[in-house]
Subunit: 394 residues, 2 copies
């Protein structure tokens, strides 16, 4: 084949999460939607807030050439100012319009940052279990994806393990908190320990290591504080998306923050712009840039996810399942009832339960149960979870 | 610098077109908008049709999780079917839903196709003068951009020159008709001659050469027929955008067509999907996918551009300027009054005229005058064009 092999492979080998979801859709058509318990996807079940509809409605009265025209590559100044002001109110920072670069969602944000900082042959560290698309984007940027396991007991970052993994080719580390797939939130102490290790390694090696904070779940928490990473480590870039907080995953809208407190800001900002340009992004969707300006402080509806979380954890707990108590996001990390997560998944599937085996996230022995589903799905699934546990009790 | 040099360079060296537009904005603030004649950008001056507003309005009554949720990576089946049906009606083809892949606009379409087909070290041919971002995308895909001049008299493709340029590393050729910056439309005969040359070279070299038809201006024509390229050459992929036809440049919505008549279709389709995945596109904006399904057959308002074209060509003609009669798009390719286009641009700028010197498009001696501006701008600019001609007559 003379075309690009890597692109072909990424297209031919579908994401295993999407394959499970596709199986779920087929199965629902066979036996009825109410009889299949599909926990595979991260598509928010909470509707976008009414303010989004109102904002679109209001903006429709603008002249169309203004509403739908090209925006500056970095985004409308008014949108970037609204985002900066919101961050400044929440974190006591003093970011300006020019520190923000609007993007077509989190995937764009992370890919733009990766292509801004890495050179072929570099290494980028991810903390396993991790969102599997990280590997796709790291490898397509020409770098090597280095997996460092989280602490197996707490699923916090293991700073010593990171210290051992950082070498002279390490360019960046992706930190995703609240975490997909585990639901953990890294504590301030944990991040400070990580930052100390990174600074030590940078000094020892004479290199720069960037911390890429991927934070689409920042607003989806259950009481936990999510530390502001640029306060802890200077060489941070923050990637954000409104897919989860405003339930707009299909609209592709988010941002990258390159804080002036990052010592390499003056080089990073043009590199981020140039990376967006070379990847073909041009600008973030114009109408939704205006929606973001209007809705930047609209609170996320966490109550629905909190209620799902309570029903799922109390139900599974009663049945004897072990899991990591989620502090954020909308995933429950449940211990498989046998060491082989794929075998456990197949047994679950016989009961019409569709979680995602942990092999997809770079480790074994667990499944991810997404609870961004209807409350009825969670309640209705409990007899199936009970039968599944019964299979293993025999 | 340890970050990515190529990304930094693409961000630090702004597009010269954008720099001229930025100068225009500053100058308007200084001396009044009505005194500056900015012909630099390709931002449509015609508003999006009323049907777009109506479609958004109608779709706002959908449940938000449905309206703003993730779509399949290739796009909503209903949108792809609407596009395929429209193409089939117009070109007598029989494309199906699966031959279309929805994208975030033309830049995404071209970049996805380039990253689907090229391998590092390959060559991609462009016909100069050409849209300068082609070079950025070709080089960032790891290929070499090979410029082949258009026929200097007609600005049609020069098939013999293409034949000489195609070597064993040639992977693709980008054809942009109606053309930016010249406004030419390649005739059926011209494309057939090109196709014959490409097939000869493929046979001689034992390689495959893809024709990437970049067609955002297909709907903006002044009587000329725009041949359907896949009918002329099998190894064609078509890139489209609604930026110009529906005046939606900021919303980032378009598509790639991988026809089953392309002999490599079975490999190209997954490669296009994998390329979109690795570049971080996820899906095209969901609301505007629905707008496209609703508005796919809404005619473009060509009359406004036709009236601008008439005022500009008749006015410049009277003043003795030479230009290429535009058959499509909304640019006039005007011969500079001295061989050095940049020097001519500087003299034009003294008269508050802001065309783009042809050096930006890979050749010298011309300027591009974008007439996607208000009619008043064109009429009001004539005394300045007259003074400019007078400068050279002295």
């Amino acid at each position: 084949m003379s075309i690009n092999q890597q692109s072909y492979a990424y297209g031919a080998q579908k994401s295993s999460i999407r394959e499970i979801a596709a199986y779920g859709a087929r199965r629902k058509a066979q036996i009825g939607a109410q009889n299949v318990f599909d926990f595979s996807l991260g598509n928010p079940s909470v509707p976008a807030p009414e303010e989004v509809r109102e904002s679109i409605q209001r903006n429709l009265s603008l002249p169309p050439t203004e509403l739908h025209g090209y925006t500056p590559a970095a985004g409308y100044p008014a949108t970037r100012k609204a985002v900066a002001d919101s961050l400044n109110r929440r974190f006591g920072t003093s970011y300006g319009t020019d520190e923000l670069y609007m993007t077509c969602g989190a995937a764009a944000s992370i890919n733009i940052v990766l292509n801004a900082v890495v050179n072929p042959g570099d290494e980028v560290i991810v903390i396993s279990p991790y969102f599997p698309e990280y590997r796709v984007w790291i490898e397509s940027a020409g770098a090597t994806c280095v997996e460092v396991p989280a602490d197996p007991a707490t699923f916090q970052i293991d700073p010593d393990a990171i210290g051992r993994a950082v070498g002279d080719r390490t360019k960046a580390l992706i930190v995703n908190s609240p975490n997909n797939p585990v639901g953990s939130v890294y504590s301030l102490q944990n991040l400070e320990d990580l930052a100390a290790v990174l600074r030590d390694r940078e000094a020892a090696l004479g290199t720069s290591v960037y911390l890429i904070a991927d934070e689409p779940y920042r607003e989806i928490t259950y009481g936990a504080e999510v530390p502001w990473v640029p306060d802890v480590y200077d060489r941070t870039l923050v990637c954000y998306s409104y897919s989860k907080s405003l339930s707009l995953p299909g609209e592709r809208i988010g941002w990258v923050l390159v804080p002036t407190t990052n010592p390499d800001h003056d080089e990073l900002l043009p590199a981020v712009a140039g990376s967006g340009r070379k990847l073909g992004f041009v600008c973030a969707p114009s109408l939704f840039q205006r929606v973001v300006a209007d809705c930047v402080d609209v609170p996320s509806n966490v109550e629905a996810y909190a209620s799902n979380r309570e029903a799922l954890t109390s139900g599974l707990s009663r049945l004897g399942y072990e899991y990591i108590e989620p502090q954020g996001a909308f995933y429950l990390w449940v211990k498989a009832l046998e060491p082989d997560a794929k075998a456990f998944f197949l047994k679950a599937r016989e009961q019409e339960l569709l979680p995602v085996p942990s092999d997809s996230f770079g480790c074994t022995g667990w499944v991810r149960v997404g609870y961004c589903v209807s409350h009825e799905t969670i309640v209705g699934s409990m007899p199936a979870w009970e039968r599944l546990a019964g299979e293993y009790a025999r």
